[in-house]
């Protein structure tokens, strides 16, 4: 049978062999964590602690105003040592709370779960999710509770659990689905309860058959939940592409999944939702794949938020001398880091170290048209790039640059440029500026 998928896309080598069979290992409890209060375009959070204050694991240390603000929690017990600007993995710097650990890992949340969460009121589940600081763990860090409260007039009929994990190297979700399929399914049930959805589908790329088997087995008692294999193709894990693959529905241009009655949450997010509701555990740790050809001993680690990349790399045998690129996330959409002294954040699905691939000259587009065949949004990247190169922002907009999700499939196949995504980012920024004038 042909696997479900979307139109376009690319097939980079999946490079998952080095970590796919390594069970999730608990990383060493960090002696110090750095927990950012912003960055990556998110709202600044207001710290609730001051230097010298003792905090417990899972204690809320900052929160913000506005519907989209999500609190953050201490990930170790200890004392706040500093609140100041620090490099963050989104790029640039942001204020952050630094905690010196006491090594005791005393937890603030134990015994605070809802006794029977699956029967809790939807509003209570959503409030718990927000209070636990849950955001999308696939990388984008979109607040989970916002997606669960669709705009007026939209009803959610279907929850999709995103277990595609289409980025090369990453195996964090794969391991989570194989090792804790019951929690993934339990999280899916809570998300259905919260949204009123009648069905849930876990979408998993076909290079993770064990994960699908495990989730399907865990969901056997729940006929409304199924685990479905989808084609191995990047960007299969993009929200709109996964909805298209699984349900055949297309989210309208400029629209949201709620417009087609769907909510998509990452598999790791589903587990975090279960933990928040059933155990009362806030989101202060996550699974991170540390891999790449320049990492000596790749691993899937359960990591406290705020642990530095350097700390984790040291636990993975250190970097090979050829390491030149340090990426947060996967190699397709991940963000390059200049230093390893940045902290793991909620969206850190992977830490990938790669050797340099040289700096080639950018050449003019030769119009081979490959980018049109791989663009999952059906755009003409070649024409958008041309328009952006000469500052013709209206033309870039007419060619649909605002629909671009910056997946980089075009740049992956391009023979003339690796910098296409920059052009699209710039065009979007310029168009945004005009709109506000």
């Amino acid at each position: 049978m042909r696997l479900k998928t979307f139109r376009g896309g690319v097939h980079p080598p999946d490079c998952k062999d080095r970590t796919r069979d390594l069970p999730i290992r608990r990383a060493a409890l960090p002696a110090r964590v750095i927990i950012p209060l912003g960055g990556g375009g998110k709202a600044r959070l207001r710290p609730l602690v001051e230097p010298g204050r003792r905090v417990l694991t899972g204690e809320k240390i900052a929160e913000g105003e506005g519907a989209r603000a999500v609190p953050v929690h201490a990930s170790i017990s200890g004392a706040v040592s500093l609140i100041g600007e620090t490099p963050v993995p989104y790029g640039g710097t942001a204020p952050a709370v630094e905690i010196e650990g006491d090594g005791r890992d005393e937890k603030a949340w134990e015994g605070t779960g809802i006794p029977d969460p699956v029967r809790a009121a939807p509003s209570e589940i959503i409030a718990r999710i927000r209070e636990a600081g849950i955001v999308g763990l696939g990388g984008a860090e979109f607040p989970a509770h916002v997606k669960l409260s669709p705009p007026p007039g939209r009803t959610i009929g279907h929850v999709i659990i995103n277990g595609a994990e289409c980025e090369p190297y990453l195996t964090a979700d794969d391991r989570l689905m194989r090792e804790r399929p019951g929690d993934v399914v339990a999280g899916a049930r809570l998300l259905m309860r919260a949204t009123g959805a009648a069905r849930a589908t876990v979408g998993i790329e076909s290079n993770k058959r064990e994960a699908r088997e495990a989730v399907a087995a865990a969901a056997r008692a729940f006929p409304e939940i199924e685990a479905v294999l989808v084609e191995v193709k990047y960007p299969q894990g993009a929200e709109k592409q996964l909805i298209r693959a699984l349900l055949g529905r297309e989210v309208p241009s400029g629209g949201l999944p709620a417009d087609v009655g769907v909510v998509v949450q990452n598999a790791g997010t589903a587990v975090a939702v279960w933990e928040a509701c059933a155990l009362g555990k806030p989101l202060y740790e996550r699974v991170v794949t540390v891999s790449g050809p320049s990492v000596r001993e790749p691993a899937n680690l359960l990591v406290r938020i705020g642990t530095t990349f350097a700390d984790l790399l040291a636990q993975c045998g250190g970097l090979a001398p050829d390491a030149a690129l340090l990426i947060m996330g996967g190699p397709m959409m991940g963000i390059a880091q200049w230093t390893a002294e940045v902290p793991v954040v909620k969206g850190t699905s992977g830490i990938i170290a790669l050797p340099s691939r040289g700096i080639p000259a950018e050449r003019p587009c030769i119009r081979c048209g490959l980018c049109l065949t791989v663009c999952p949004m059906g755009l003409s990247p070649s024409l958008i790039r041309r328009a952006a190169e000469r500052g013709a922002w209206e033309i870039a907009e007419r060619y649909g640059v605002l629909d671009c999700m910056e997946c980089g499939a075009c740049a992956y196949v391009c023979t003339t440029s690796r910098g296409q995504v920059q052009h699209y980012k710039r065009a979007k920024m310029e168009i945004g500026k005009r709109g506000k004038r």
């Binding site: 297309e250 241009s253 629209g255 190699p331 390059a336 949004m377 059906g378 755009l379």
Partner: protein, 312 residues
């Protein structure tokens, strides 16, 4: 480890590793079987003319870029492609000095004056052929029969049709294998197809352009009362459909656009052959359609995700 500093680069951080040069050299390799056939059919003079065309194109590109202080791009192989295609479009008996003249038009005028590879509107080799055809019509239409290594005049199949000469037409098999007279690189459909298979497999060309070109040519020929199979196999249709109408830079981007482009080429070719002043129309049809490429691109964008239509 804390002092270590890494490279900041935009994603994606991996790629296929393919480059312009690799694409161009794959095209050059795909042209070799047809070149070998041209030399086998028409003798060392064909090889000398081809070598002269390639060398001239490379020299003109390097000289012009040197003159204007631009980066030298000869190593990307695109000038070699132009040189080969220019030679493929010349009669085997054409004088050697056609090579530098053609190269000047192809590279200096049609390619570099428009901004170099990626910006040229017209296929450089065809622009040169059109120039030579207009300037030296007699020399551009004096042919050698298949297998004649010395100057012997003969008519091509299309010439026989055009001039209504009382000469036997070659068999379909001879046309397909290339046992006929014609331009250096256009005669053997079989060997041109062999190279095209490589390009199709490597995704350097797509099926759209050649399919619609040859399909429209056959259909239109039928409409005007010509033999459709002969129309496809004789002259430069196969060379044009697989190697020149597919020129990335000067043809549309999308599959739909390429279907329109190819169909236009096929129809115009049939019309020129039937009513035009020349027996062959492939070169002019492609050049004409080149001019429509930006318009076709605008009207044939792929369907956008989440919308009914692709048009911006």
């Amino acid at each position: 480890m804390s002092e270590r500093v890494f490279i900041l680069a935009p994603g994606p951080h991996v790629g296929t590793g393919d480059s312009v040069a690799r694409v161009m050299w794959r095209v050059n390799i795909a042209l070799l079987p047809a070149l070998a056939w041209g030399v086998w059919s028409f003798g060392p003079a064909a090889l000398a003319l081809t070598a002269a065309c390639v060398a001239s194109c490379m020299a003109v590109e390097a000289l012009v870029e040197l003159l204007f202080g631009r980066a030298i791009t000869v190593r990307d192989g695109s000038a070699v492609v132009t040189g080969l295609l220019l030679a493929f479009n010349l009669p085997p008996g054409a004088p050697l000095w056609f090579a530098p003249v053609g190269a000047l038009v192809a590279i200096a005028v049609a390619k570099l004056a428009f901004g170099g590879l990626g910006f040229n509107i017209f296929n450089p080799a065809l622009a040169a052929r059109a120039f030579l055809m207009a300037s030296y019509p007699a020399r551009m239409t004096s042919w050698r029969p298949y297998g004649a290594w010395d100057a012997v005049s003969a008519a091509t199949p299309l010439g026989i049709l055009k001039e209504r000469l009382d000469l036997p037409l070659p068999s379909y098999a001879d046309l397909f294998l290339g046992r006929v007279g014609g331009c250096i690189g256009e005669t053997s459909a079989l060997l041109l197809l062999a190279g095209a298979v490589l390009l199709l497999a490597g995704r350097d060309i797509t099926w759209h352009t050649p399919a619609s070109f040859l399909g429209a040519l056959a259909g239109m020929s039928l409409l005007v009362g010509a033999d459709p199979l002969l129309a496809v196999l004789a002259g430069g249709a196969v060379l044009g459909a697989f190697y020149m109408a597919t020129d990335m830079v000067t043809a549309p981007l999308s599959g739909g656009g390429r279907l329109v482009f190819g169909a236009g080429c096929g129809i115009i070719t049939a019309v020129i052959r039937r009513w035009g002043g020349y027996p062959e129309g492939v070169c002019y049809s492609i050049l004409l359609m080149n001019a429509f490429t930006p318009l076709i691109d605008r009207c044939t964008q792929p369907r956008r995700f989440g919308s009914r239509r692709g048009r911006g």
